[in-house]
């Protein structure tokens, strides 16, 4: 069976979602501050690979890497929740199937312990 990554059109499609997602993220007063002075093209590139990975595309990041890059950022649970809400919002904007949205969010949710250290 084709993965979500393949069904939605691979990296090209995922990158559109991720760009729209970061538009919302930067506008958010809850988590926008984390992204001040961040190299956005690099950020979007990483996130595109990550979302591709949780959608069943090629894997780029191990749990160890995710933990290592997020630990110094001291991300708290509120920020994580906000991020999840914005991601859901974005995925809905792209008219993705509800089941797929839940599946992607679940994949991200299980990685919360790697990301939240606040």
């Amino acid at each position: 069976m084709a993965t979500m990554f393949e069904r939605y059109g691979g990296f090209a499609a995922v990158s559109k979602v991720v760009m729209a997602f970061y538009d919302k993220v930067i506008d958010s007063d809850v988590i926008g501050g984390y992204f001040e002075n961040v190299d956005m093209p690099a950020m979007i590139d990483h996130q595109t690979k990550f979302i591709s990975q949780v959608m069943g595309g090629p894997a780029s990041y191990t749990d160890d890497v995710l933990k290592r890059v997020h630990t110094p950022l001291k991300i708290d649970e509120t920020a994580f929740k906000e991020m999840m809400a914005l991601l859901r919002d974005t995925l809905e904007d792209f008219d993705m199937d509800n089941g797929d949205i839940e599946a992607i969010l679940e994949e991200v949710r299980v990685r919360q312990p790697l990301v939240v250290h606040g």
Partner: protein, 360 residues
């Protein structure tokens, strides 16, 4: 020209940032809302464009205008946590006596992001290609272990190989006396490890003489010369290989507690070389000459090299022999049998050095 009206109708309605500069003083005379957002407090402030945009270079502008070309550069502005990349183009326009510069600012952030991603993915693909290439080389190396290079190339190009007949070839069969008993009586793992060392040494000697190891079956070792590349010295090379293998074993026995006793049969004759199998490739040789070499090995006394008249006539001037007389060889009738005792003169190819350098 009613610039106020122009300003209202056009400038405000477009998504790009637009500004009009005095062509001489480079002051920013007016701009649309987008320009004002990106460069606040610059329109009509009397500020020159260079004070607002650090990347602006008046000399370059002058050169471009001189050549009647637009002047372009890139910059970025920071707006509420966002860094926006802008592509800016200035062009000169005149209306009667008035000369102005029109400055267009396009938001190219998304393009930058995409460029970054393309770059990143092409690196990813390159990396994967390198991994694949390495894997391919590894597979190639493995295949080259089981078949001659020219056969591998044929297989790679055509997907199949045709059996080849080689009229001038020589082969060698070696096995160890009492190996089966040795293997069960003592430490089998250690014994196999020793056998592995010995076969590895044989491979290196064979390589030196342009011979190919065809296969090993248990404790038996089979090599060939003259295929797939023909060699006028195929018989001599197999004889040299046999002499040096024996010398290597003797040297090894003088140092190790485990004594290896081998028998070697050599022969010359036409063979067919071919890949056998589809999923499991084995390159093998066939022909009566191969069987005869096996018979010679069986007739051989321990630590001797045995051959018959067929091959003897090809190498009789280069080696010493002991004639063992005529014997009945199963499937081949009566043959005159010889034992090869050694080479007349020194075997070339730094043979003694080579044996010395092999791990024993």
């Amino acid at each position: 020209m009613n610039l106020d009206n122009f300003n209202k109708v056009l400038l405000e309605s477009v998504g790009v940032g637009l500004a009009i500069l005095d062509a001489t003083s480079l002051e920013i005379l007016m701009g649309n809302r987008r320009f004002d957002e990106w460069f606040p407090d610059s329109i009509g402030s009397g500020k020159k464009v260079g004070e607002v945009l650090a990347e602006f270079e008046p000399e370059k502008l002058a050169r471009k205008i001189e050549a009647d070309k637009p002047y372009s550069f890139e910059t970025s502005v920071h707006m509420k946590r966002r860094s926006i990349s802008l592509a800016i183009t200035c062009s000169r326009h005149t209306h009667g006596d008035t000369a102005v510069l029109i400055m267009e600012c396009q938001n190219i952030s998304k393009i930058k992001e995409l460029e970054y991603m393309i770059e990143s993915y092409s690196k990813m693909v390159e990396k994967q290609n390198r991994v694949l290439q390495k894997e391919k080389e590894r597979v190639e190396k493995l295949l080259l272990n089981v078949m001659p290079k020219s056969v591998y190339q044929e297989l790679k190009s055509f997907g199949v190989t045709t059996p080849q007949r080689y009229d001038d070839a020589s082969m060698l069969m070696l096995d160890f006396v009492g190996f089966t008993d040795m293997a069960v009586a003592q430490d089998p793992a250690g014994l196999i490890s020793e056998l592995n060392d010995i076969f590895t040494a044989f491979d290196r000697i064979a390589e030196q003489f342009g011979c190919e190891r065809i296969k090993t079956i248990g404790d038996a070792y089979m090599a060939v010369s003259g295929i797939p590349e023909p060699s006028p010295e195929h018989a001599l090379n197999i004889a040299r290989l046999a002499v040096l293998m024996l010398r290597y074993i003797k040297r090894r026995n003088s140092v190790h507690s485990q004594k290896w006793i081998c028998r070697i049969g050599i022969n010359s004759g036409p063979v067919i070389g071919s890949i056998v199998g589809v999923q499991k490739y084995v390159y093998d040789i066939f022909g009566p000459g191969v069987n005869l070499a096996a018979r010679m090995e069986a007739l051989s006394e321990p630590m001797e090299i045995t051959l018959c008249e067929d091959m003897h006539k090809l190498i009789k001037n280069e080696f010493y022999f002991t004639e063992r007389g005529e014997m009945e060889v199963k499937g081949f009738g009566t043959k005159k049998i010889y034992t090869l005792d050694g080479a007349r003169g020194v075997i070339q190819m730094r043979s003694d050095d080579m044996i010395d350098n092999l791990p024993i």
